[in-house]
């Protein structure tokens, strides 16, 4: 289950070693992404791609905005 969080919580999680995932298209990811973010487009969220992440660490997923 996803937990919705804000910017300050994201910063805390990143400081604690969380993984961050951008789900937008490649062009958007290349233009600008959060530090250390992994590119994992929403349409590629398969189990195989998920294996690229560490299940023992928190994962923060983000898109453009809250719309």
């Amino acid at each position: 289950m996803f937990e919705s969080i804000g910017r300050d919580r994201v910063r805390q999680l990143l400081d604690g070693g969380a993984q961050v995932v951008e789900v937008l298209e490649r062009r958007q990811y290349c233009l600008a992404h959060l530090p250390g973010a992994v590119h994992l487009p929403a349409w590629e969220l398969t189990r195989a791609r998920a294996d690229e992440l560490d299940r023992d660490r928190p994962v923060v997923v983000y898109c453009f905005d809250n719309l």
Binding site: I5, G6, L24, R27, Y29, A32, R55, P58, V61, C63
Partner: protein
């Protein structure tokens, strides 16, 4: 989901992150947030004497007037202080801040707009500082190298595109998880149906990270 126990959704996303001047990685920078310099500030309740001290100490042309929570409300330059008694409250002499920009705006877009020294504030209006940008013609051969600077990031446009693509994929495949090849074939056909050439569709899919089938 997929065995993950701690998954968070940063609901305000990249737009929020960048609007607060937090660091990003990528090709579209530098952003104003990368080159914000501190400015002399005074509180609205301080006096002309305090502003004079700030100006002489900082070597700035103007003092930015801020409220207690850091909101930028105005500026006072040296000329406005001329002839004012030392005990005049700055609220009485300030001129409202004309406009501010977010730290997520690209330096290139400001340069192409003629440059300048805009005040940079976060999305809540809190002052971050000032970014001095030279006009674009002073950067010929630098700012455009390797980049397609069309101004700041058009996040809204991309979001609409992405939402439409995701909706189409969901409608077509439903609960079924398509293979990469099926996904590419579907998206390619959709792009061509929309009027794009085969080559253009190939390029767009490459941009999206949906590569050639095995």
């Amino acid at each position: 989901m997929y065995g993950f126990t701690e998954v968070y959704d940063y609901v305000d996303g990249k737009v929020d992150w960048m609007a607060f001047g937090l660091p990003v990685e990528g090709d579209d920078g530098p952003f104003l947030g990368d080159q914000v310099a501190s400015v002399a500030t005074c509180a609205v309740t301080q006096t002309v004497a305090a502003a004079r001290r700030e100006l002489s100490g900082a070597g700035d042309d103007a003092v930015v007037i801020v409220e207690a929570d850091g909101l930028a409300v105005g500026e006072v330059d040296a000329e406005a202080l001329d002839g004012q008694p030392d005990d005049t409250v700055l609220l009485e002499v300030l001129r409202p801040v004309p406009s501010t920009v977010r730290p997520s705006v690209t330096v290139a877009s400001v340069a192409e707009g003629g440059g300048g020294g805009p005040l940079v504030t976060d999305s809540d209006g809190r002052l971050l500082g000032r970014a001095t940008v030279e006009p674009a013609h002073d950067h010929e051969g630098h700012d455009h190298e390797g980049h397609d600077h069309e101004g700041s990031v058009d996040l809204e446009g991309y979001e609409e595109e992405l939402t439409a693509v995701l909706a189409a994929v969901e409608e077509h495949f439903g609960e079924e998880e398509p293979s990469a090849e099926e996904l590419r074939a579907f998206l390619h056909e959709r792009l061509v149906t929309e009027g794009r050439s085969v080559e253009e569709a190939d390029r767009l899919l490459e941009d999206m990270g949906v590569g050639e089938p095995e």
